[in-house]
């Protein structure tokens, strides 16, 4: 089975974004970069499929940073090789989808995993756009996956429930927390990853016009600490009730 996983290099979830001097970008110079957490569920599922069926797991990333340490972490988890498409700066989600689709077409995967969202920009759309461009089935926000021959059955999360969706290979799957628990790289995995191939390519597509421009970026207004109530439980309960009735006005 030939399995692809699209992984995005992103600032980790501890990051507190700061506004850059142009007020249109974020200053992420202090950030630590990682594979987007949802993509790790995709890598884990790919590795499990490979363990069950044999085959190859390939990581694909569009990234202009020149930093390969992040994708090496994915190789250390157990993926076989990686392809980095070196863009110039951050791409529009439509452009990203087209550029990734060009790589996916060349590789001809049986199944490709994505995260449900790339942490940071939170575009939440690259897999859906890609599915249209490639005319392939997509099942998104997946929490359970079964593959039997070329039959795919997945459970996807919806508000207050679940949907059961069927498709046939080749298929695109976007992963949600709950699908599995991603493994940590072992020491052996980390050593092996140093020798695994990372192919570099240049992007073959630039959109004529971006979907939108960023006019400016903002931080939310800072929240202030309010009233702190220590002491007796009865007193505290009274405080909560009057807060709910006088301020919040829900009782």
């Amino acid at each position: 089975m030939k399995i692809g996983v699209c992984v995005k290099r992103v600032p980790d979830t501890e990051t507190r974004p700061k506004i850059a001097s142009d007020e249109k970008n974020f200053d992420l110079s202090d950030a630590k970069f990682v594979i987007s957490p949802y993509d790790e569920f995709g890598i884990e599922e790919a590795l499990k499929l490979k363990e069950a069926n044999g085959g190859e797991v390939v990581l694909i990333s569009l990234d202009s940073s020149g930093d390969v340490t992040v994708i090496r972490n994915g190789l250390a988890m157990g993926a076989d090789r990686a392809i980095i498409v070196e863009g110039d700066g951050e791409r529009d989600p439509y452009e990203t989808a087209v550029i990734l689709s060009n790589v996916l077409k060349e590789e001809n995967f049986d199944i490709v995993f994505f995260g449900k969202q790339g942490v940071g920009h939170d575009y939440q759309q690259v897999p859906s756009i890609l599915a249209e461009i490639m005319n392939l089935p997509l099942i998104s926000v997946v929490v359970e996956l079964k593959i039997d021959g070329d039959k795919v059955e997945a459970v996807r999360e919806i508000e207050g429930g679940e949907e059961v969706v069927e498709a046939k290979l080749p298929v695109l799957i976007s992963a949600q927390k709950g699908l599995n628990v991603p493994r940590y790289p072992s020491l052996r995995g980390i050593m092996a990853a140093k020798k695994k191939p990372i192919d570099k390519k240049s992007p073959e597509f630039t959109a004529e016009k971006l979907s939108w421009e960023v006019e400016k970026v903002e931080l939310p207004p800072p929240r202030k600490a309010g009233k702190i109530v220590e002491g007796e439980v009865e007193e505290q309960v009274k405080e909560i009730i009057s807060f709910l009735s006088d301020e919040v006005k829900i009782i």
Partner: protein
């Protein structure tokens, strides 16, 4: 020329976030001096509310199928909007349905979409859109470069408005040949029926590692049911296996914007705050006076949640006469 809204229909019932999205779209349609058209798949008991909240016209799509897969929705809706040579925008609510299908439609126009937006600045020309990034730790104000606009609105942020528009229903038959469908929607299951969905809730009561075990979540549930609230959790509580991950609030869980968020035994890690700090009011109950959650709480209760929460529930029962 029109502004379209894709409506979400679950069990013949149009969900509230769709009405919120509709009212936001109607306001844009008014700015453009054009119609606001709702697209609905199947029958819904509350179809007449579409007019009330802003639809000038309702296209009711009959496919002859009870469950319509994403591919069919994408094909049919793309067809409709493409037929309108000068269509301005397509809205949906940012639910798992809207977020999944709308980029599939925008792809046919070689564009991306603004997902999960929290504000529209209608007075600007062209309009500006606010979209959360870093799970709400920051925002981008964006300007679309050309029409059509594709937008999903975050539930519980935009207000429904009574426009009492015409809302006349036009039935449209659209069949999609099963062979052309890449995915088949087999079943839609409700989990925890009657529970209020986190992202749509007005009140949320959440528990963290301070809950100490799964059995204790029932004190959270009791308080929540009195307040008509949804139940949330920190990742620590989810990872311990005390509660299903669907309840997780935060950067790798759900982003919520209720009127009031009550955090019990949650320390206030940055990833948790990212998901809930746009709540209008925050109440925190924590035994550690130095817990970071108190820095963002409007009301901070320093105490043992196992004493405070049950006492609060008892007192509320009296106040609410329940």
């Amino acid at each position: 020329m029109a502004v379209y809204v894709l409506i979400e229909n679950r069990n013949h019932n149009i969900k509230n976030p769709s009405f919120e999205s509709l009212s936001a779209a109607k306001k844009l349609a008014e700015k453009f001096g054009t119609q606001c058209v709702a697209i609905l798949f199947g029958d819904a008991e509350n179809i007449s509310d579409l007019g009330k909240y802003g639809a000038d016209k309702v296209l009711k799509i009959k496919t002859g199928q009870e469950l319509v897969s994403r591919d069919a929705v994408i094909e049919i809706v793309s067809d409709i909007v493409k037929n309108d040579g000068d269509f301005k925008a397509l809205f949906a609510s940012a639910t798992s349905f809207g977020k999944d299908v709308l980029p599939g439609i925008s792809a046919k126009f070689e564009k991306g979409i603004a997902q999960d937006i929290t504000e529209i600045f209608y007075d600007n020309d062209p309009i500006l859109i606010k979209r959360p990034v870093f799970a709400g730790k920051a925002f981008e104000i964006i300007k679309f470069n050309d029409f059509p606009y594709f937008i999903t609105t975050r539930p519980n942020v935009f207000k429904k408005a009574e426009y009492n528009s015409d809302g006349s229903v036009e039935e449209v038959e659209k069949s999609v040949s099963p062979d052309s469908l890449k995915t088949v929607l087999k079943e839609v299951k409700s989990t925890g029926s009657g529970q209020i969905e986190l992202t749509e809730a007005n009140v949320i009561v959440s528990g963290g590692r301070g809950m100490k075990g799964p059995e204790n979540f029932k004190i959270i549930e009791e308080l929540a049911s009195l307040l008509n609230a949804a139940v949330g959790a920190s990742r620590a509580a989810v990872d311990e296996g005390w509660i299903d991950h669907q309840h997780q609030v935060g950067q790798t869980g759900k982003t919520v914007s209720p009127t009031v968020y009550i955090a019990c035994g949650i320390s206030g890690a940055i990833q948790h705050l990212a998901g809930m700090s746009s709540s209008k009011y925050i109440i925190a109950i924590n035994k550690d006076p130095d817990a970071p959650i108190f820095k963002v709480a409007d009301l901070g209760i320093v105490g043992d949640l196992f004493k405070v929460v049950p006492a609060l529930t008892e007192e509320l029962k009296k106040v609410l006469n329940k």
